[in-house]
């Protein structure tokens, strides 16, 4: 059996190959900067060389002298438009050309537009800004930071969760730890560069840009340009990796749209890799203090998690992962507090598992330390503290298969063969370490619309304004239609990534499969209802039978009695060429405004810790083996095993690939990824793929993903829990645990590097 296509177990769909696979291997998948556009002009950004101050003068003469230069958009040219807004669809409130103030290094100061890419680049590099410069504040511990409580600053982080009397329980605990952890600045670095192509057809604006949120962007761009959202179309048929970076729109989009309007021709601006570090979002650096108290029996009685996160001066971006860490185990008492630390930086944004990646790393590293302090096996320690209800609101988990994940992953990994003594395992010149950690990600779902058409020829056309960022959502949406309508997948076409399609929520928070499939399910069931009604009507081929007894298989309505009718014949009898249904799905607990908000690009999220009846999370367990060279301290990860349970698995192939990619991301978090900051200038230093390290092929060897069967009808009609952000949670803690096991060194600051193991 091919590892890429795991055999489906209970409640799992077939490992169908991606329906857009052929397009992707032949170069015919058109990403936004690939879409053919006639008579295009090229834009290039000029960005600030300081992080704080004011632009006093912009010298444009040299740039204007470049042959082929067409226009320069800069200060004054955006004044009649609205400033960007910080929020779900907007990356930042900084309007770089609305305001001569500089809030961060690499802030846009102008857009040069020319006949060729080369001329645009040349002109942009000749634009010279003069500044009134101030001393910038770079990050934690830099002079000039301001620290504020995070709770209530963002609709996504309402409160610091707590339960019981932590102080008393911690004071009384027999065994306790009090440790600090940190995670670095990281940039998403999808391989597709960020780009905007804009053109006007009369009053209609068309924008080709990689986006995880075409509906939200349509509305936000229209607001900035002061035009009707119906006059804006965002087109993003394929997205070359996103990881959160293409969720919120950045200020560049409106600037390029204005350039296109001024010139009366299409303008394309592809941001350089280096400029993306300052003009897009990123994962901010975090710090953590964790205190855990337990009895000698290993039962936790007290848990405190304090977090600090860097953000920009104007925007209170917060991830606040204590909502998840505070609910992970049966702690007894919980105390949490999250603070924002403001500095002269661009506004951070969502990056794959935004709250959980840093916060669960800290929790799970602390859990491993606690197990060591107790002299317990780390799996046993977690088993003892497995909760019946979550400790904050005492709500049940809709489903929780964490222990099954640990058991299956431990068996596959061979945990029983691990010698628990530190430094006891060797492989020649390599110290061997083995570690494990828990993965958790909230299961959310949002309203979504979809249109499905079944034709008399047996073809299905599915339209939904969601986004194919590589998750396989096109394939699984098609698979849902295939299952419900009894039509082979090769007869199904799926259109996504266009704001003129039925609206879908932002493809973030691992909600897409659940939300899109729930809407597709609803549309398909409406088609089924019409088919059944026609088939069973008086004079119909199945007159007299009851609906519940039917299935749709291979283009036929099959009754339990054995009678059947071709769908084609039913449609002909109805005298129609097609049945088309437009469905709007709203999750349980949605407000009366929920669908209106979907069309306005501000979808409600439900699930996670927000529901009344239960809390909803997906879980996993990851096991890592590290080899550390005894002389050079080079760290390798020859083996990693993860077991995950995430409700209904639509397609075992795409699910495994996402989890695998997540686990490799986790290895990157542990060992590679960090954006270095020059504290003197508040400037990112390693702004390219040579110096910003990400895992490459040679970094990964044996990797095993185990899909653990789980049924959960409470999460959404499709029964699906998202797993795109589950795989990379906990991995870094598992690596840290393995490094400790190999060397006896507890590394608390990521990434783990050779130099930390040499001292």
């Amino acid at each position: 059996m091919d590892a890429a296509a795991p055999k489906p177990k209970e409640n799992m769909g077939e490992p169908l190959p991606r329906i857009d696979g052929r397009l992707k291997v032949t170069g015919q998948a058109h990403y936004p900067a690939d879409l053919p556009t006639a008579n295009i002009a090229y834009g290039a950004l000029a960005t600030s060389s300081i992080a704080k101050g004011k632009v006093t003068k912009l010298r444009l003469d040299d740039a204007r002298a470049v042959p082929g230069l067409l226009d320069i958009v800069t200060y004054g040219d955006m004044d009649k438009l609205e400033k960007p807004k910080f929020g779900n669809s907007g990356a930042t409130s900084i309007g770089p050309l609305h305001d001569r103030r500089i809030f961060h290094d690499g802030q846009i100061v102008a857009l040069a537009v020319a006949e060729t890419f080369e001329a645009a680049e040349e002109a942009a590099q000749l634009i010279r800004a003069e500044y009134e410069e101030e001393k910038p504040t770079a990050t934690f511990d830099s002079p000039g930071t301001a620290t504020i409580p995070a709770a209530g600053r963002s609709p996504l982080f309402k409160e610091d969760v707590k339960a019981g009397d932590f102080d008393a329980a911690y004071a009384a605990a027999a065994v306790k730890i009090d440790q600090r952890y940190s995670t670095p600045t990281q940039h998403h670095n999808p391989i597709e560069l960020f780009s905007t192509t804009a053109y006007w057809q009369g009053e209609q604006l068309v924008v080709h840009e990689p986006s995880q949120n075409v509906t939200g962007w349509k509305v936000e761009l229209a607001r900035q340009l002061k035009i009707d959202p119906a006059k804006v179309r965002i087109v993003s048929p394929f997205i070359g990796g996103a990881f959160g970076s293409k969720g919120p729109m950045t200020p560049r989009t409106a600037i390029v749209a204005i350039a296109a309007k001024r010139l009366g021709r299409p303008v394309r601006c592809v941001t350089s890799r280096m400029q993306a570090f300052g003009t897009q979002t990123y994962r901010a650096e975090t710090r953590h203090r964790i205190r855990i108290g337990a009895g000698k029996d290993g039962r936790i009685t007290a848990f405190a998690h304090e977090g600090w996160e860097v953000t920009s001066r104007p925007d209170p971006y917060v991830v606040g992962g204590t909502s998840a860490t505070g609910r992970m185990y049966d702690y007894g008492s919980v105390l949490t507090h999250v603070s924002l630390v403001q500095a002269d930086r661009n506004t951070p944004g969502y990056m794959r598992s935004p709250p959980e990646t840093p916060y669960v790393y800290a929790l799970e590293n602390a859990m491993d330390e606690m197990a060591v302090a107790l002299g317990m096996d780390p799996i046993e320690f977690r088993r003892i503290n497995e909760p019946k209800t979550e400790p904050i609101g005492k709500k049940p988990f809709s489903s929780r298969s964490l222990i099954q994940c640990y058991d299956q992953a431990a068996a596959a990994f061979g945990w029983a063969k691990r010698d628990p003594e530190v430094g006891a395992m060797r492989d020649g010149d390599w110290l061997v370490g083995m570690g494990c950690a828990t993965a958790i990600y909230p299961t959310a779902v949002a309203p979504c619309a979809a249109r499905v058409r079944l034709t008399v020829d047996g073809d299905v056309r599915l339209q939904c304004g969601s986004h194919e960022i590589g998750t396989g959502v096109r394939t699984v949406a098609g698979q849902m239609a295939s299952e419900r309508l009894g039509v082979s997948i090769d007869r199904i076409s799926v259109e996504m990534g266009d704001s003129s399609l039925p609206p879908a929520p932002v493809s973030g928070g691992s909600i897409s499969t659940a939300s899109v499939c729930s809407a597709v399910l609803k549309a398909c069931d409406a088609i089924r209802t019409k088919l059944y009604a026609a088939a069973t009507a008086e004079g119909g081929p199945l007159a007299g039978s009851r609906n519940a007894e039917f299935e749709l298989v291979d283009g036929k309505i099959m009754a339990k009695s054995g009678a059947s009718a071709k769908v084609e014949d039913v449609l002909k009898a109805m005298q129609v060429g097609a049945i088309e249904e437009y469905a709007e799905f709203a999750p349980k607990g949605a407000t009366p405004e929920a669908l209106k908000k979907l069309y306005a690009g501000k979808p409600e999220f439900h699930g996670g810790d927000q529901d009344e009846d239960s809390v909803k999370y997906a879980f996993g367990a990851e096991f890592v083996e590290v080899h550390i060279n005894r002389y050079t301290r080079e760290i390798r990860v020859p083996r990693i095993v993860g077991a995950f349970a995430a409700g209904r698995i639509m397609n075992t192939r795409t699910a495994r690939s996402q989890l695998m990619g997540g686990m490799i991301w986790g290895i990157g978090q542990a060992l590679h990824e960090a954006t270095e900051i020059d504290r003197r200038y508040a400037r990112y230093v390693n702004r390219d793929l040579q110096d910003y390290l990400v895992p490459v092929n040679a970094d990964i060897k044996d990797l095993q993903v185990i899909l653990v069967p789980e049924v959960d009808h409470a999460v959404n009609p499709a029964g699906v829990k998202g797993l795109g952000e589950l795989g990379n949670v906990g991995t870094a803690a598992a690596v840290a645990s393995a490094v400790y096991h190999a060397t006896g060194k507890r590394i608390r600051d990521l990434p783990i590097r050779i130099e930390q193991l040499l001292v």
Partner: protein
Amino acid sequence: MSQPSALLTNGLSRRKFMAGTVSAAAAAPLLASRAEGATPVAAEAKLRQPLVTSLRINNQAYELSLDTRTSLLDALRDHVGLTGTKKGCDHGQCGACTVLVDGKRVLSCLSFAVMNEGKDIATVEGIASTDGKLHPMQQAFIDHDAFQCGYCTPGQILSAIGCVNEGHAESESDIREYMSGNICRCAAYPNIVAAILQAREETRGA
């Protein structure tokens, strides 16, 4: 830098080269004759004059008028319309722009288009059979789900074909090492290795 000689040996005729003194100036300003009284500014201005360049891409001949600074990558994408080849960094660090030039893998973002006159360039659009049958490496990438977003995939596939033909796909560890110039941010690496193992034999014969 020895650009002028590179230009000459890369198939540009001497006559074309001289006719396009602009390109000489572009490549090596020292060659711009001061005796002719050309000021550096004038030489600069001429530098942006387009140069007619002939490229053979996927067995088809193209004559393009290009700024001499145009990379092979931008020539393919913006001037020929073959957008299958991707720009991921423009610095030769990610591998997304990998094409085959005379059968060898080349980072098209690090190669000026004009340096490729007379060479055979193969891109992802040109490796399937004319009857639509996929190259074994393309099929193997689908079979093993060796991509997610698909953006690095054209470069991975061309690089994989080059890797096999170089003789660097003899073992799994060799494949991992010699495919490490192609970053896959979705991290489909184990699947890419499996795909190359599947297509290795057929690719050698292709």
